[in-house]
Amino acid sequence: MSVEQKRNSTIRVNNVTLAYEEYLVLENVSFDVEKGKCLFVMGGSGCGKSTLLKSMVGLLEPVAGNVFINGDALWGDESDMTQVLREFGVLFQGGALWSSMTIQENVALPLEIHTDLTDCEIEDIVRYKLGLVGLSGFETYYPAQLSGGMKKRAGLARALALDPKILFFDEPSAGLDPITSKRLDDLIIELKESLGMTFVVVSHELASIFQVADDSIFLDAKTKTLLDKGHPDFLLRNSNCPEVIDFLSRHDSTKH
């Protein structure tokens, strides 16, 4: 990777092919995510969006190709991977909070493991992060005591714990009502603008895509490839792929 590319591109997915044992999910997918931008991964159900995300966060090794985070290869040496993993946070679909711990313990754990901060400092940071996502006062609650939206926000606070430069979201709007979903979108925009973070969001929530995305890619289940790439508005007007137009044009119809 050249110095210029490394400077501009935070994430590079290079010719990645993904499969579950013998079942091919995606083939030769390549794209870049620019620093400080929000990229949406779109596509119909079963097209491999979440699988692609898994390979980008170190959970599923590609059959071929590699993912580069800030120029460092994610897949290769395991000790390097641990270093790369600390550069990003992940918000899973259901929040994936550790059920045996309180919300405070959930957010504190990455700080306890990866930093030398004192308990007092960790507590302050945890309170701040929970306040950021509107969960002040819920520190002692267990995940089972929270609603779906609150779990996601707590998951976001945990993902933000180590001040990552990159955040990955897996279907952030799934199972949320439109108002909670919009609040989460607004939070993404605020974090992007105030902290200059880079976002990769897997979603097929059109309202979120048009509101938040700076860039997007469209994956196709039939061809198992990346069909098109660009800003959603641009794709809606100029894409050569009917699947992409069909997918995005539902946004206009849902407005009425």
């Binding site: 679909q93 259901g94 994936a96 909070l97 059920s99 990455p110």
Partner: protein
């Protein structure tokens, strides 16, 4: 030509509501008129379908089939399914089909249910061959995966000893409490009843030789050598091993293990090590406790049924357990039982599938495999003790 339809209107009162099918064969063409009531609830439908099959056989020479529908037709899914089947049959025989006055709704539903590729049904032999092939392909995994897992636990344990582990001691204490102190009531009950049963069985046999007092020897030796460790092992496998598998399997299902990995935290150090270590330490302690309670079970029988004094019983027990090795031999076994249960429970949980059925399977498998390994290990220990003349 389409027209409005009467969908699921129900039966008209006073009219005989049955599905009707009129068939006219004329110079290479067949004219079919569909009328009456085509509802799933109609008992006459199977008779009409049988008639349809026989009519189809008669019309094999016809090349064109014209199907019309009566104005008063009442229909539901049963008619759509019938037409869908008929169309498939005509398509297979390459016949021309024309519809007259096809109700609009039926037309739409037929288009919606346009037949795609139907999954090929496999024969039992094909199924069996596939299963054998899958088993053969997965065979290395049955050895490689557990060995990799044990290796990862060993590395994690080495890290713990060298002070580099991510294991939280709070988790270890919590696991130790759950699998130790919380198990005391069930261990007490089972061990007491085991001692009691052995004393009853022994007393009957020993009475024949006028050696009733040796019931104390029988109970104490059986408990410390064998039954204490074995009963605790089986209780722990069913109670704690299953709970480890369910807990970790559920964490996998909820992506909690994935989220640990994305933070660069090893699930082995964080989840497996504290649980396995807790069980490794608590099982021998519970075994010692079970030995004592089992001996007390024997005492209950000796004093209440056999009229021995408690002091007499304890003196006899003391003389039977003169060598501490008797106790150590059982405790040593229990160390391995604890390790087996912890490792198997965690392995099954970490490797369970991502659905609730797979979780149930993982829990069952954890219990069955643990108990099997416990029995095998117990037999191996006894063989070794016997070979080394330690008994």
């Amino acid at each position: 030509m389409n027209k409005d339809f009467k969908h699921s209107q129900g039966l008209d009162n006073g009219e005989l509501n049955i599905p009707k099918l009129e068939w006219k064969h004329d110079r290479g063409a067949v004219f079919i008129n569909i009328s009456g009531t085509w509802l799933i609830s109609c008992n006459e439908r199977p008779r009409v379908l049988r008639r349809w099959d026989s009519l189809l056989k008669q019309g094999t020479d016809a090349t064109v089939f014209n199907i019309s529908f009566d104005d008063s037709l009442v229909w539901d899914t049963s008619l759509v399914v019938f037409l869908r089947g008929a169309l498939q049959e005509f398509e297979k025989q390459k016949k021309e089909v024309n519809f007259e006055q096809l109700p609009h709704g039926i037309n739409k539903l037929l288009k919606l249910s346009k037949i795609g590729k139907v999954a090929k049904e496999k024969s039992e032999i094909e199924d069996l061959t596939e299963d054998i092939e899958k088993f053969a392909n997965d065979l290395p995994n049955y050895f490689v995966k557990p060995v990799t897992f044990i290796g990862a636990v060993l590395i994690s344990f080495t890290e713990l000893v060298s002070g580099k582990s991510e294991m939280r001691w709070n988790d270890f204490i919590d696991s130790a409490r759950k699998c130790g102190a919380s198990a005391l009531p069930i261990v007490t009950l089972i061990s007491f009843l085991t001692g009691l049963t052995m004393a009853f069985v022994g007393s009957v046999q020993l009475e024949k030789f006028n050696a009733k007092i040796y019931v104390a020897d029988l109970v104490s030796l059986a408990m410390v050598r064998e039954m204490g460790a074995l009963m605790v092992g089986i209780i722990m496998a069913g109670r704690t091993g299953a709970s480890f598998a369910a807990e970790l399997g559920n964490m996998k299902l909820n992506e909690e293990i994935d989220s640990l990995r994305t933070f660069g935290v090893s699930p082995i150090s964080f989840l497996v090590l504290p649980r396995t270590l807790a069980l490794f330490i608590m099982t021998p302690l519970l075994t010692l406790y079970a030995d004592i309670v089992g001996i007390l079970g024997g005492l209950a029988v000796a004093t209440s049924v056999m009229d021995f004094s408690a002091i007499h019983y304890f003196e006899q027990t003391q003389s039977a357990l003169t060598h501490m090795w008797e106790i150590y031999s059982g405790v040593m076994k229990s160390l391995f039982f604890g390790l087996i249960i912890g490792l198997v429970g965690c392995y099954k949980g970490m490797n369970s599938g991502r659905d609730s059925a797979a979780l149930g399977k993982a829990v069952t498998s954890a219990v069955v495999v643990s108990i099997t390994f416990i029995i095998v290990t117990d037999a191996m220990f006894e063989t070794i003790y016997s070979y080394l003349e330690l008994r």
